[in-house]
């Protein structure tokens, strides 16, 4: 055989060998990648899907609580933030007295604080004692619904005093020892729709201004709304003390305009029932400002209340969003309510539906594709045995 022919044959064999090797290599790759493929970078805005996290898997049922309230009290209105390398939650403890008929009446409230290194495992600070208590005349024995920001040199808190009597401010270097700013509230209910009632603030600092979202409006439609109001308003401030209320029509309290609310109950789950003349309630906003691409998005997480529920324990969390600071668009009926769990119980001959109540949300963005919500929850199963209520945790992430 000629030398050139040997070389050509060798070349052919080499090629075939390489091809066979590549084939086996390719086949051996198997089914790499995830089962769906192409999911890892899907943008996630934080509007859905929210799922409660079972933090106590040894106990039956989902137990999303990070703090459970004691007998005769209720934990609510958490303010969730990440500051100084740790996670913090400031929340209201509301105390009740019950009469001989079992009717509960709120008698006082104060503010507690918890801390965590991972947002899932929490400890109550200050020995479980309140870090802010009512003491000023206008607070009338109630301070609650805190909204806390990490500011220069420590923290600043805005809180509700009394039963919607105003919003006060306080500062602290360590989150435990607080000094109130002045003897009067920094925001009062002086607009027509507020009826002298404002509360449940959420303050963010964005684009050089403090921006406060608060709920207001005097109503007795539910016990919850009696404290938190049923409409949501907006104000901004350069110093966190002097506030200017604004609305979507560019009305401003600074110019003496009548300023409207920025959000009202419009969806059925919020309790709006025109046939029966019920207004429903939206209240206790929690604000998260994200910047997913080239513009900011203001997300509002808020409580909606089924009007007429005497126990107030049929509240849910909804979501609205805006590309400015106050022109909110509510999530559609696939989005809202974002947290609305109910529990079926089948007993012989009857079926009952116990509604969990999820309310007063506060949300942070942990990663670009993970959001964590702290909220108040009442547990329907425990209702059967005396009630379990506290601060609970939910996450929004891809494929929980």
């Amino acid at each position: 055989m000629k030398k050139t022919q040997i070389m050509k044959t060798a070349l052919l064999m080499t090629c075939l060998l390489m091809l066979a090797t590549a084939s086996f290599w390719a086949l051996s790759c198997g089914t790499e990648g995830d089962i769906i493929g192409g999911t890892t970078a899907w943008p996630l805005s934080g509007t859905k899907w929210w799922n409660k996290v079972d933090l106590d898997q040894e106990t039956d049922g989902a137990q999303p609580f990070i703090f459970v309230s004691g007998e005769g009290e209720e934990y609510l209105e958490p303010s969730f933030l990440k500051a100084y390398g740790q996670f913090w939650v400031f929340f209201e403890r509301r105390s009740f007295e019950s009469d001989e008929n079992g009717k509960r009446t709120p008698v006082s409230s104060d503010i507690l604080v918890g801390r965590s290194t991972d947002a899932f495992t929490w400890e109550l600070l200050n020995g479980g004692l309140p870090v802010l208590e009512a003491g000023l005349d206008w607070e009338d024995g109630f301070v609650g619904a805190p909204s806390v920001l990490a500011t220069e040199g420590g923290f600043t808190m805005w809180y509700t005093g009394g039963i919607g009597d105003g919003i006060g401010a306080a500062v602290s270097e360590n989150g435990l020892d607080w000094v109130k700013v002045g003897d009067e509230p920094v925001l009062i209910g002086d607009q027509y729709w507020e009826g002298g009632h404002v509360g449940a603030p959420c303050v963010v600092f964005h684009n050089h201004l403090f921006r406060m979202y608060y709920s207001g409006g005097r109503t007795d439609v539910t016990p919850f709304a009696q404290f938190a109001g049923y409409l949501i308003g907006y104000a901004d401030s350069e110093d966190g003390v002097n506030w200017i209320k604004r609305d979507t029509r560019r009305n401003s309290s600074e110019q003496g305009d009548t300023v409207n609310f920025v959000m009202a109950p419009t969806q059925e789950w919020e309790g709006l029932d025109g046939e029966n003349g019920l207004t429903g309630a939206v209240a206790s906003p929690g604000i998260l400002i994200t910047h997913p691409a080239d513009r900011d998005v203001v997300l509002m997480y808020y409580s909606g209340n089924f009007a007429g529920d005497p126990s107030a324990y049929n509240m849910s969390v909804g979501i609205a969003g805006a590309y400015d600071y106050n022109s909110f668009v509510k999530g559609d009926y696939e989005t809202n309510p974002a947290l609305n769990e109910k529990f079926i119980l089948n007993l012989d001959g009857i079926s009952i539906y116990l509604a969990y109540s999820e309310y007063t949300p506060s949300v942070i963005q942990l990663e670009w594709n993970q959001y964590i919500m702290l909220f108040a929850q009442s547990d329907p199963i425990s209702e059967l045995t005396g009630g379990q209520q506290g601060i609970a945790l939910a996450t929004c992430s891809m494929f929980d």
């Binding site: 090629c15 790759c29 493929g37 192409g38 969003g321």
Partner: protein
């Protein structure tokens, strides 16, 4: 037991469409891909089945081809890379033919076989972003077979059929908290077909003209699923049933893997035996695509119907694809030709404006204007051995896809996806051989 039957159109988690076949996205054949897929008036191998089936007549009477490619996809949302699986698989081509009455007649087949799955559908939430050209497209077997013949030595005609694999079947099982699941998964491969045709002229010795028609191709998927559940007890010890047995019958229908009807005009100039310049223009009828969003009919019995959402999930609007076009340019240069040995160098460029309008609403089909640069080399050796007396070729290529950055702004600030910018590139490399007998 209560019986609640709820009909839901558009369930929450349903298969959403991906588009096209691997051939639409990457082209077919190592030589053609290297030449920017400007191949409709070049031909001469089994990849002509896709590019212009009439040019099968330029192939030898018996040639076997096999090549392999791997495309690594780097698509980014807001500068974060997705994990879209690489597209990789084999293409096997075969051309057989005879010459009658001084006219060449050829039969050809070009088959793409992915090395991961014969068929795969993605199953994301309906609003999840899907990159229409790249999301799992290669997880589908594609075969194009056809016939071509010379009417005159300067005019050829060809017709063929594109066949893609399809998946049929679904799950049927019952699950329980205190007993093993029972049931089965019925799954089998089906097929979808569409026709293609081509014509090829050589009006001058140095000029070739081609025309190709590829019909629309879209798979209709039907997945009948039945999922049952026994009584669910909240406390196993006391037998308190919180969820009576139920059954979910979920029939899913979806149109997927859309490939538009295409009209292609091609031109090739051959100044001499060592040089080819080619160009293709293709018109794509993307507007004919049926709404790619899947719909289903769900029948929920028992307590399923009490706890699952009872309102119909929102309709996802049609992404509204528009007709589009693409141009391709290619060249091949015989850089070294001597003593039965030939080295060809190839290059090409392909531009495809996106057919996708801005997705400001709920739908999140993703695409952008696409630039493709390619290159490659081929070695042909004559009379390799006594067994291989005809030329034997080895070809390699690379292909680089560049998606122009595109910002997507959502009109609804509560969109679950939100605003995003998509950017991306794909590096596709491959090699193959052609054996002629």
């Amino acid at each position: 037991m209560r019986l609640t039957i709820i009909i839901i159109i558009f369930a929450i988690f349903l298969p959403a469409a991906v588009y096209a076949t691997p051939y639409d996205t990457f082209g077919a054949g190592t030589r053609a891909v290297a030449m920017g897929n400007a191949y409709g008036a070049v031909g001469g191998d089994s990849s002509a089945c896709f590019h212009n089936i009439a040019t099968l007549t330029l192939a030898g009477p018996f040639q076997l081809e096999m090549d392999y490619h791997r495309a690594d996809v780097d698509i980014r949302f807001n500068d974060r890379r997705t994990d879209i699986d690489p597209d990789k698989g084999y293409r096997i081509g075969l051309v057989l033919g005879k010459t009658f009455f001084n006219r060449r007649f050829r039969a050809g087949v070009s088959m793409y076989i992915p090395d991961q799955h014969f068929m795969r559908f993605v199953l994301p939430p309906r609003t999840a972003p899907l990159v229409m050209r790249y999301n799992n497209i290669n997880h589908m077997m594609v075969s194009i077979a056809g016939l071509a013949g010379q009417v005159f030595p300067w005019w050829s005609l060809g017709v063929g059929v594109t066949t893609t694999s399809d998946h049929l079947g679904g799950v049927d099982f019952v699950i329980g908290e205190d007993r093993p699941a029972e049931g089965d998964l019925k799954s089998r491969l089906g097929s979808e077909m569409s026709i293609l045709a081509g014509t090829y002229f050589e009006p001058l010795k140095w000029l070739s003209i081609g025309g190709t028609f590829r019909d629309e191709h879209q798979q209709k998927m039907h997945l009948p699923n039945k999922i049952g559940m026994y009584d669910l007890k909240v406390f196993a010890e006391n037998g308190l049933i919180i969820f009576h047995d139920g059954r979910l019958v979920l029939d899913v229908y979806s149109y997927t893997h859309f490939s538009p009807r295409q009209y292609q005009g091609s031109l090739a100039i051959k100044p001499n035996d060592r040089l080819i310049f080619s160009a293709d223009y293709t018109y794509y009828e993307f507007s004919a695509m049926k709404n790619s969003m899947a719909y289903s009919v769900a029948i929920m019995e028992g307590d399923f119907g009490e706890v699952f959402p009872c309102v119909p999930p929102l309709d996802v609007p049609d992404p509204g694809l528009e007709d589009s076009w693409g141009i391709a340019f290619g060249t091949e240069w015989g850089a070294f030709v001597r003593d039965g040995f030939r080295l060809d160098l190839r290059g090409g460029y392909n531009y495809k404006p996106t057919p996708l309008p801005d997705q400001t609403d709920v739908s999140n089909v993703v695409d952008s204007d696409l630039h493709i640069v390619s290159g490659g080399a081929g070695v042909t050796v004559k009379a390799l051995s006594d067994f291989l007396r005809k030329p034997f070729s080895i070809d390699t290529f690379f292909q680089y896809h560049y998606l122009e950055p595109r910002m997507v702004h959502k009109s609804d600030p509560t969109s679950d996806v939100g605003d995003y910018e998509v950017t991306g590139s794909v590096l596709n490399i491959g090699a193959g051989m052609t054996v002629r007998f």
